[in-house]
């Protein structure tokens, strides 16, 4: 139990606990002390001097954000002297750079401006300095305008403490001081991961969204949480709405997995729609897709699905996006598996789940470790995984581990990965030779640690038969790298192994088995028997798809292919292209008029991310439920409605056939 304390602030008795600052106690007790550099997500800076207060018995003023609250303290947070000082601080800030609010992108949503109003600043008594500072527009998503910067350091702290990269810092000094990136390079050429956290925390117009300022003024804004559909971490975000449209995306303090950290994809890219929306259903007539009404399109869909039900005309194949909510995935699965009797129902990128499933079949079901184990890891081995690209928030967590705690990362991947830049060692085996590397590592581990007795003779022999020399020959990696990778893994107390799409998409479950073995060999197994290994997939709801029972689809000889892609930017591989060409007919339910449309015989409109509500289950099995944030354009029906309508029509066709 924290020790309770009582202090007096501006004559009011305030309660708090030991360890809180004066500012925290004041806030908890509903008192306002003005701040600028302070931010709830960040460590204390104590640099802006707005929160100076008088503490009885202390000669000097203290900053409330940094001063510990003490029992019995008597604090004055508001009086004429403090007011004058705060006014002076504000006037100096206004005089230092260019704060001509009517010309600023953030006027109306600026904390400096708010403080100025609160403190009745009508003009400044000092000469304007107005140094010539060029705004940096090289970042694709936001602008840094040094002219509006008050050097509060919020961006600097967020970049290091939340984004983990530490791109930003203070350069030069005195009146020349500016926020710099790396060695003073333009932001667009820097190590910035474009997470936008600095933009979220900047109190002024010094950092602002390129897209948002024109329609995100404070008035009439609404905020609704939603989920990033891209990967299976389950990152939640705050969608800022104006007149029912998405103005911008902000970090959401209460996000259970990611806190306020977002990736450039969930914050910015999600707002860029590469193709126009599909607004009306279409049916192919005489080789041309023509717009039809919903009834006709749904009839055509039911007819196509019914035709193949007998099985005489070949089978139906269903492929669906893992971005969709649980409810939609379940309805889709029900329609195809139960009503159409179709056995080939899968999701796009189904191999990512299938490989893991096969590994469970081959080596027994393994429980894998959770986020906490990853947070606590003192060494990370990445195999076929580039989190900085596919799971940027995880990538940022890893960057933080590297920069803050010096945790070594070893990356094994046949492609050049972004995460390799964080890695102390990266091995780039030839495609298809990953297994040789893993055998090599296992062999090294039993050699280096004398662990031969822990495995049976045949297994040990198999591993030993892959000495670094052979691995080097087969996989094209350096001998020394294999030795060192094994040594780094062996030396760690709590290493974790993370694998991703590049491993699972090989379709080789043996690789996963070897990773589990590696963790077990060194006893890296948790309290509930979980191995310190974790696989990740793309698509927010892969875990839900797995639970519902999407189990692989054979496209060969498909009479009808029913694609529910929603807003998934499906990777149109040569294989998929061919399969769609070979299929008897293609039904496409898609939000966008993308490259899949050309293969479709029926096109049904679908929802995009902000229009969907429902439940998502992340990689660790954590469920989150969100409501839709925006309304779909007129004429677009919810996916669920479409699935139900098709189901009803199918039943009708069936009954008719019976009669």
């Amino acid at each position: 139990m924290a020790e309770l304390i009582t202090l007096t602030i501006d004559g009011q008795e305030c309660r708090g606990t030991k360890g809180m600052t004066i500012l925290q106690v004041a806030k908890e007790n509903g008192l306002d002390i003005p701040t600028l550099c302070n931010h709830p997500w960040l460590t204390t800076h104590g640099g802006c001097r707005m929160c100076v207060v008088e503490v009885e018995g202390q000669r000097r003023l203290v900053t409330a954000c940094a001063a510990p609250a003490e029992d019995g303290q008597i604090v004055v947070a508001h009086n004429d002297r403090l007011e004058t000082l705060r006014q002076m601080t504000l006037e100096l800030l206004f005089a230092e750079r260019n704060h001509i609010c009517p010309f600023c992108a953030m006027t109306g949503v600026c904390e400096l401006q708010d403080r100025a109003y609160e403190h009745h600043i009508t003009h400044t008594r000092y000469d304007y300095i107005f140094p010539v500072l060029t705004p940096d527009t090289t970042n694709p998503y936001f602008v840094q305008d040094h002219n509006r910067c008050i050097l509060c350091g919020r961006c600097v702290r967020s970049c290091y403490e939340i984004a983990g990269v530490g791109t930003l810092g203070f350069g030069h000094r005195g009146s020349q001081e500016v926020v710099i990136a790396d060695l003073g390079v333009p932001l667009g050429e820097s190590s910035c991961i474009k997470c936008g956290t600095c933009v979220d925390v900047c109190p002024t117009g010094a950092l602002f969204d390129k897209r948002a300022p024109y329609f995100s003024r404070a008035r009439g804004l609404e905020r609704k949480p939603s989920i990033c559909p891209d990967d299976d971490l389950g990152c939640a975000m705050n969608v800022v709405l104006k007149s029912g449209l998405v103005a911008r995306i902000e970090g959401w303090t209460e996000a259970p997995v990611n806190g306020p950290l977002l990736s450039y994809r969930s914050r910015y890219e999600i707002l860029n729609e590469p193709h126009p929306r599909v607004l009306k259903p279409r049916v192919r007539k005489d080789g041309e897709l023509v717009e039809v009404d919903w009834a006709e399109a749904l009839d055509a869909t039911a007819e196509l699905l019914a035709k193949t039900q007998s099985g005489a005309d070949g089978h139906v194949v269903g492929l669906c996006s893992t971005r969709l909510p649980y409810e939609t995935l379940a309805s889709y699965h029900r329609l195809l598996a139960e009503q159409c009797g179709c056995v080939d129902v899968d999701t796009f990128r189904g191999a990512q789940r299938a490989t893991r499933r096969q590994a469970d079949d081959l080596y027994g079901t393994h429980k894998e470790c959770d986020f906490e184990a990853i947070q606590q890891a003192d060494m990370v081995l990445l195999v076929g995984f580039d989190p900085c690209t596919t799971h940027p928030v995880l990538g940022a967590w890893l960057a933080k581990k590297v920069h803050h705690d010096g945790v070594p990362i070893v990356s094994i991947s046949p492609r050049t990965t972004k995460t390799a830049e964080l890695s102390i060692l990266s091995l780039k085996p030839r495609r298809g030779s990953e297994l040789a590397v893993l055998y090599g590592l296992l062999g090294q581990l039993i050699e280096q640690r004398n662990l031969g007795h822990l495995v049976d003779r045949l297994t040990a022999e198999k591993w030993r038969s892959h000495p670094p020399g052979r691995v080097s020959y087969e996989a094209g990696v350096e001998e020394q790298a294999v030795v060192r990778a094994a040594a780094l893994y062996a030396a760690a107390k709590n290493p974790v192994i993370l694998y991703g799409p590049d491993l699972t998409e090989t379709g080789n479950p043996t690789l996963i088995g070897r990773l589990w073995e590696m963790a077990q060999l060194l006893g890296h197994v948790g309290a509930s028997k979980e191995v310190m290994v974790r696989g990740f997939t793309t698509g927010a709801n892969s875990a839900a798809a797995e639970q519902i029972g999407f189990r692989g689809a054979d496209m060969e000889g498909a009479a009808v292919v029913y694609l529910l892609s929603g807003d998934d930017p499906v990777d149109l591989t040569p294989q998929l292209r061919q399969d769609l060409r070979d299929a008897g007919a293609v039904i496409l339910q898609s939000a966008h008029d993308g490259p899949l449309v050309q293969y479709a015989d029926v096109v049904l409109p679908s929802l995009k991310w902000s229009e969907r509500g429902g439940t998502w289950i992340n990689v660790m099995g954590v469920g989150q439920t969100f409501e839709a944030c925006t309304k779909a354009p007129a004429g677009i029906k919810p996916d669920e409605w479409v699935l139900t309508e098709i189901g009803e029509r199918l039943s009708a066709v069936k009954e008719a056939a019976h009669e």
Binding site: Y160, V165, G166, T167, L168, G169, F170, G171, H172, R173, I180, A181, D182, L183, G184, S191, H403, D405, G406
Partner: protein
Amino acid sequence: MPVLSDATRASIREAAGQYPPGRQKSAVMPALYLAQDDAGHLNPEVLREVAELLRLAPVHVAAVATFYTMFEKAPHGKHIIDVCTCVSCQLLGGYDILAHLERRLGIKPGETTPDGRFTLREQECLGSCASAPVLQVGYRFHEELTTVKVDALIDELLQEGADG
């Protein structure tokens, strides 16, 4: 490709080792001095290398290097002559010393002689008022200056160059 010599790299690692683990940030100043002595000035490649050696984000190193004026960020002459013209030195003839050097070297403050031997600069307080007027060449102070002493110093520095 490292820009710094192996010896400098080793010294920087050693400097970092003098602080507790995780406190490599404390070694930035000594590391920058070592790097500057080796490379002449701290260009981006040098700063990047120091950051790598200390395992710090580059910006942490850049922040320190740009904060302090005694870290050279641009190419300069072999000898940098910093002449103090702050109050005490000024009263005792700091500007005469500066003017004399301007004539002798044929350059203005902030410039470098065409042969690349000397860079002349005017400095705020060098912190040696008691022995004013002073100037600084590299890490050495030359005190209680007269124009005669200054000429002798320049001769000496030129001689050094000729010998080397």
